[in-house]
Assembly symmetry: C2
Homo-oligomer: 339 residues x 2
Amino acid sequence: MGNKPHTPAKSTRDELSIAEHVRGVLDQNRRILSQTITKIESQLPRHQEQSDQIVQALLPHRKESIRIAVSGIPGAGKSTLIEQLGLLALQKDHRVAVLAIDPTSTISRGSIMGDKTRMEQLAQSGKAFIRPSPTAGSLGGVARKTRETISICEAAGYDLILIETVGVGQSEISARSMTDMFLLVLIPGTGDELQGIKRGVMEITDLVIINKADGTNRSCALETQQKYQNVLHFLTPVSRGWLQKVETCSALLNQRIDIIWENIQQFQKTTRQNGFFQQRRSLQAYQWFLDIVEQHLKEAFYSRPPIQRELQLLKEEILQNKLFPTLAARRILDLFFKK
Amino acid sequence: MGNKPHTPAKSTRDELSIAEHVRGVLDQNRRILSQTITKIESQLPRHQEQSDQIVQALLPHRKESIRIAVSGIPGAGKSTLIEQLGLLALQKDHRVAVLAIDPTSTISRGSIMGDKTRMEQLAQSGKAFIRPSPTAGSLGGVARKTRETISICEAAGYDLILIETVGVGQSEISARSMTDMFLLVLIPGTGDELQGIKRGVMEITDLVIINKADGTNRSCALETQQKYQNVLHFLTPVSRGWLQKVETCSALLNQRIDIIWENIQQFQKTTRQNGFFQQRRSLQAYQWFLDIVEQHLKEAFYSRPPIQRELQLLKEEILQNKLFPTLAARRILDLFFKK
């Protein structure tokens, strides 16, 4: 399948072999971990085949971890919160990986104020790994790569995986589908519309965090907390055994980050004890499998030349209102299945 | 394909022939129209094939129409509004069909106050057709049937199609994908959360209607109007050339229904003149075609016995965390494509 037939599986000077990738990741070599993620994100069929083998080889070595999504609009302070949580986790002897699910995330963009110190402290630790967001592909593609990246980070010994996502399109749903716990970061006072909250997002959130609850914002933050606490009362818990709640904090001033951390511990303890943690992971893996299968089925269908030709003809007739969509569908399916 | 091999295509005493269905619908016979919709909603393969033929035969006879989605939570007054709009349309010499997209719609359920007079006036007119909501199948299935039902109602001469939908799950998205104009019915004062508004829904709405704007509610309704008008200013218009707006009315007291009607006329005029109306319909039809094709592809894949057997095995391995989902996907796809 490679486009360089004379160097099919051997490593070249520029490229690590599969064994070198696997060894490097297990050795917690951050440079090789980065190169492995780059290979995973590559669109080349050769790289994709290699990635599959690397991931499968690393699978049994994954460290037990917690995967946490951190969602919220730009400006809510997600990066600062992630850094503070990460620094606290390092103190408690964890190893921290920070990944982004979408190209618009602040990890790579920086804040609108041109802040250059983003996660600088966290980045300096040898026990933290920060991966800027992938740039290529659709959101679906990006999310697929992020799942594999999570797995190899776990094989590299990271046991706290923080996934940053911006509330755009389907990204929260993707983030929810690959994490154990979902945090929604809000700021005090602003109305729902400006916070970019879709009703669906509250329904998948385990912990709402009112950030920037400092100084003159403090009382407003408590009101906002109360408001969302009331909302949560109406919702079904998204993680069995864990009642969704709202906490306030100030990531900038490093206040009440320990409370957030405590919630994460409590969440983990509860859902691991009642079995929901592992149950969700298994179902997430199976659903992911189904998604891949169905995506490939579609691609296989649409890439066949006779289908492409027929599709062009049918599309014209449908757009010109000459053929009913159900009939057109039957026609192209009959062609595919050779009736 | 029929399960009664001795009466393959002939009509029986109980069943109309395809020609009888087509003739009856074109003759605007409401009893036969109802029977045709029942056939469309049937799950029997024989009925589905007949329906396809009936729909295709009726396709060229469809009258030019406007299709309007009416969305909102239970209690917002959708049914009353639909009836008043329908009665006004009858006065202006239109023919009105009212359909429901989901089984929970108020057309069939009645209000929580046990109101028995729901759409009674509209139902009495010979120029109106009210179809209770379908009861069988998933939302996807229901939506598919609703699209075909719209088409045969148009062939039966109905030129105002009102689709009622309750804000549950994907139903608004389905309703948007099969209509020209999307109305969202709200009530004065209540917060966003209780109105059941998802952010995505505001983004697909052409006209927000604050209903129950009467009596002591009036000033509150104007505030609510102002609030949503402000929100709409931030959104991209969903229908090219038409700026989304908010109107108030009282369906119960039949106040300002003419204003709603005027907006519908203006919307239609604007989008027909700039070509967007027809463009959207064409794209909706094509998207529908793609949806059907992809749904059938999945069904064909999962229904094959070797795939079902392999799926069981792979599912076990994935759920037990022994096999990575990407690898499992490759294995079952290779089986399907006989690599």
